[in-house]
Amino acid sequence: MTLAGFARRKDFIGGVLVLLLGLGAATQSAHYDIGSLRRMGPGFFPLALGVILAALGVMILLTGRRASEEASAPYRPEWRGWACICASLVAFIVLGRYGGLAPATFATVFIAALGDRQNSLRQALVLALSMCLVCVVVFWWLLQVQLPLFGWG
């Protein structure tokens, strides 16, 4: 399905997602000890929630309106921004683990800044370097965050 069709079938997709989440939670909970009303096991509450959620999903599906009356604006995907934001967080995890705080900070800000189409390479660079400075002064020096500034593996 195209993303343009996505906007028009919000309630349908939402309902299906909720239904699946509910069913998933319920089947997963069924593996835990359910117990009885008198002595509930760890599975009872999540199982009940899963069933309720699945029922809600069905109700959302049934009552869902065609969004045409809302005259919803066509959904414009923003792949570059999305990818950069996700990559920026992943970069912090990876570089925080293997490279240290300073490279992680630089990469996080730099990659995220590139996600905005109006930022030039130079602006992103300046922003990332200034955040590194903030990071070193505030987080490393003042708050003494546990990550080493530079680390090799």
Partner: protein, 515 residues
């Protein structure tokens, strides 16, 4: 009893004025104000970003600071709404309606001044209500057993998810998802692991900060990257402009008081979001006005009433949160979460066992509001500058703060995966017009709901009728049922008159996701 309250309050001022507490309160107010002014940032992101900082603090300054951030950011949000027509914080969407036209007329300063005065007056009223009502509520709350607590939480969750804007069904679904997320981790009763999928980092459950920053930080960035309209405002603001004339003050006095009354009533009702409160206050003013057509073109009443409503609600919201342990809205849920992390269980015992915290908090509200008045007058120039920080610099820096904030919660990088996951989760569901905030409400209350449900049924030997046999519990269950029936009724009526005119005459574009 009131005398006792006043004595306690005096003690509270003593606590709040201790240098350490005062400094943290001031810091919270300042930072909250600063973050609230920044486009696209609200109380939720401000509190969740600074939450890790409180882990090493004593509970009293920690809560004072978080509360300060909360109302500080509310003040800040009004500035963007009035000067630039930016409802970056949904409750201020209504303030835009008349605030921005006032700015266009060159009366932006007056509007800001009125907004500040109304906030201050309303907050004071809210604080007084709090002083009177809390001890009363505590007396009732001491009679609560697990069945009552479960029923009132059920009511709170239902109200929270159905009375926000958007589809009630979707709201309830999001609450249930929040409850499920809250169930993840080790089950306290049996020690069994639930929903951890073999990941040992999840044994202690999902991290509150990671969830909040994912849902309200990253999801928000994903939604607005490259979409945030460029603001080219060159509003200049001088101190002198902010002082309203006597006639303007008189004109906005009654709306201010009425707004505060609306806020107080809705604050006492669990689950009514701040946005709906401000909308009702605004609608009330328009109904009462002799010349309603002035509204939307720069009526001071349209600024005074909603601002007053949102601030008195903020204060009154603390009553159920602190005395019953039931947060009225997501921000309160976060503060409740912070208390739980500190090892403090909100509830009637809180007011007796941690009197210094409770009354210190109340006193600090007042001190904080005075600080805000004092701060905002000289700093307004700086806030106006801050408003013009482009989004393209803002969100990359915020992402870094989120990453390091979550890392320092446990000194563990795994939390950032959680942020990313919930960010994507929140972005997908808000793109599908689901409200996001109920997830947080469900998450915080989840373990408490389960615990009390299990305990209630254990005590009644598995008889579920206990929930309707005990009178107080029955009232809450009946109210919950009424809420559901009303929702169905409105739904059916809504279907009958399809396509009716919008409630407020014109459509206001705000995110359903943040309510």
């Amino acid at each position: 009893m009131i005398g006792q309250s006043l004595a306690d309050l005096l003690h509270g001022f003593g606590v709040a004025l201790q240098p350490e507490n005062l400094i943290w309160s001031f810091f919270g107010v300042l930072v909250g104000n600063l973050i609230g002014v920044l486009p696209g940032m609200g109380a939720l992101s401000a509190i969740s970003m600074l939450l890790p900082l409180t882990y090493t603090m004593h509970p009293v300054p920690a809560v004072l600071m978080l509360a300060g951030i909360f109302y500080g950011s509310q003040y800040g949000g009004a500035i963007g709404a009035i000067l630039l027509n930016l409802p970056c914080h949904p409750p201020h969407a209504v303030t835009c309606l008349d605030g921005y036209p006032l700015t266009l007329k060159g009366k932006g300063g007056t509007a800001l001044g009125i907004a500040m005065i109304s906030s201050f007056v309303a907050a004071s009223i809210g604080i007084i209500v709090m002083i009177i009502a809390s001890p009363l509520l505590v007396r009732i709350a001491f009679k609560f057993g697990p069945a009552e607590i479960f029923s009132i939480m059920l009511l709170g969750l239902l109200a929270g998810s159905t009375m926000a804007r958007g589809s009630p069904l979707k709201g309830v679904a999001m609450t249930v998802i929040g409850l499920l997320i809250g169930a993840a981790g080790t089950d306290v009763n049996s020690g069994a692991l639930r929903f951890t999928f073999g990941i040992t980092n999840l044994d202690d459950g999902v991290e509150l900060v990671a969830l909040a920053l994912g849902l309200f930080g990253v999801a928000e960035f994903l939604r607005s990257v490259n979409r945030m309209a460029v603001v080219g405002g060159t509003a200049k603001m001088r101190l002198r402009d902010m002082r309203p004339s006597r006639a303007e003050l008189r004109q906005s006095l009654m709306p201010m008081l009425r707004g505060a009354a609306v806020g107080t009533i809705f604050g006492a009702m669990p689950g009514t979001g701040p946005t709906i409160t401000t909308f009702i206050a605004y609608a009330l003013e328009r109904r009462l006005a002799k010349d309603p057509e002035r509204f939307g073109r720069g009526a001071l009443e349209g600024v005074a009433a909603p601002e007053a409503a949102s601030h008195s609600k903020t204060q009154v919201d603390f009553i159920p949160t602190m005395s019953l342990g039931i947060p009225g809205d997501p921000v309160m849920a976060l503060i409740l979460g912070a208390l739980l992390i500190q090892g403090i269980q909100p509830g009637p015992e809180l007011i007796t066992d941690h009197a210094d915290l409770f009354w210190g908090l109340i006193a600090s509200f007042w001190i904080g509001n005075v600080l805000l008045m004092v701060l905002n007058v000289p700093l307004i120039g700086i806030w106006v500058k801050l408003l013009q920080v482009p989004y393209r610099y803002l969100f990359p820096s915020a992402l870094f703060f989120i990453a390091i904030g979550v890392y320092s919660t446990n000194n563990d990088l795994f939390g950032i995966w959680e942020v990313l996951f919930f960010g994507l989760f929140g972005a997908v569901f808000s793109a599908l017009d689901f409200p996001i905030a109920p997830i947080l409400l469900g998450f915080v209350l989840g373990p408490l709901v389960e615990e009390n449900f299990r305990r209630a049924l254990l005590l009644s030997h598995g008889d579920i009728m206990v929930l309707v046999q005990r009178p107080i519990s029955a009232v809450f269950i009946a109210a919950s049922a009424l809420l559901i029936v009303l929702q169905i009724f409105f739904r059916l009526r809504g279907l009958r008159k399809e396509r009716r005119e919008g409630f407020f005459g014109r459509k206001i574009l705000v995110d359903p996701g943040l309510e």
